[in-house]
Symmetry: C2
Subunit: 272 residues, 2 copies
């Protein structure tokens, strides 16, 4: 029996998420094969957030530190994971180190911090609330089959044997300069983005590739960049051209596309 | 005779800027008291930018390295100063160190880098293109009277004798983790922001106050935060509440308001 705890570290769960996920799970697993437990705090609301910082941090630690759970599955993105780091990181026990953590977008702040603390089971991939995207069942099936059966079908396919990490670009940039930035030297770094102007993507890549912390990358792969607001005047470069430009300037190899993004096709990237 | 060179390090100058500024200057100064020279590159266009990176960097160095200029005045914001650092910073000569540099917004990237390199004449304040804001003459008069006569009237009034620095928040955050982040320990840091969602302001302040580089601040003052796009759901805190929250969490004193912002009231803050 694989037990998965679902935690909302940022915004509150949208109504219907749990029912949709449990429905998908019933179709996938035989009785006794897996249990998915939504931490009740995910339905709380405190303004923008699924409960205040203390409540969300406690929910995270409830699941992470409980030997009865094999995996912590991030419920959804939004904004708020960064606000938990100073409470969550010092509160993690030995059990928490041997667990799988799966999420993306805003959750990347916690994934990055866990990875920087030496946690081996960190992965970038679909979250529970992807069940509500049109066609989102495929994303949830991918996540659950990997969490429960380690089905390799859902893994991002560009694996060349080098250690890997994947992030939303803005989220990774916000780890720069903090104590929670993981050492990514030797890694293939995959980035994806959503709803950012091209000039902001350019600025983020400038910062990222200017940081000595990132000079030792094996290379960068670009996932999907979606819902780009219009730039006036037009920025004049595609996201791939922007990434290639900064890779060239920084002497970091550009390795091509990555099959990740803010969408139902988002494949799983285990870190390391 | 004080000679001021105006350089566009980001976007292209809006038509009419030079005429408006020269007009204001003629009303302020007696013949032979001041000369304002707009570097011709400010009218070039290369997509988003006032000429490509090489052209904008060359324009900056033309003015900064020329002993015939007393001050380099940033023409305007937009986006693009960060792209010049790796060309500009190694190209500055001894003359450049003894010059005044005045600007804000996107120009803060260069101001921060110059200050981190020990340049003593760096200041946050109005730019040439503020002449085109409604009522913007007041901002240009303030800038020119300070650049030419060191008129203290235009200075930000909260000076308590401690060294000071002022930045647009997003711009300062993008220096984190790069080699150009200035050492602000012991400083009163003033921040202002425009057109950012409150959740982004919160995230930026989390990053800033989490960075060991910022722990030694004497305190933070908050300038004006304008044109905030609507948050859904409402974020539930004002900008000042957000800043107070992160100051409290980080143990950095919150010192009150600062008279700076993306507006015609923007007062001048000499760094240091």
């Amino acid at each position: 029996m694989v037990r998965i705890g679902v935690v909302a570290t940022a915004s509150r769960l949208a109504p219907g998420t749990e029912a949709a996920v449990q429905d998908i799970a019933r179709g996938l697993f035989s009785p006794g094969e897996a249990e998915i437990v939504f931490h009740p705090s995910g339905n709380r609301a405190a303004g923008h957030f699924a409960g205040d910082d203390a409540a969300r941090a406690e929910a995270f630690l409830d699941v992470a530190n409980d030997p009865g759970f094999d995996a912590l599955w991030f419920a959804r993105g939004g904004y708020g994971s960064c606000r938990l780091l100073d409470r969550v990181m010092p509160g993690l026990n030995r059990t928490a180190r041997n667990k799988t953590y799966l999420g993306y977008s805003d959750a990347g702040t916690l994934l990055g911090a866990l990875y920087s603390a030496g946690f081996g089971g960190v992965a970038h991939g679909p979250m529970a609330q992807d069940a509500l995207r049109p066609g989102g069942e495929a994303a949830v099936v991918r996540a659950l089959n990997w969490l429960v059966r380690r089905d390799p079908e859902g893994l991002e396919p560009s694996d060349d044997g080098a250690p890997r990490a994947a992030f939303n670009l803005v989220i990774l940039n916000h780890l720069l300069g903090t104590p929670w930035m993981p050492d990514l030297s030797g890694h293939v770094l995959m980035i994806e983005e959503v709803s950012e102007h091209l000039y902001r993507i350019d600025r983020d890549l400038w910062q990222l590739t200017s940081s000595p912390a990132l000079k030792g990358l094996k290379g960068i792969r670009l996932g999907r960049v979606s819902d780009i607001p219009e730039n006036d005047p037009p920025f004049g470069q595609t996201p791939e051209e922007i990434v290639r430009h900064w890779c060239d300037r920084a002497g970091v190899p550009f390795l091509g596309p990555a099959d990740i993004g803010h969408d139902i096709g988002n494949r799983i990237v285990p870190f390391g």
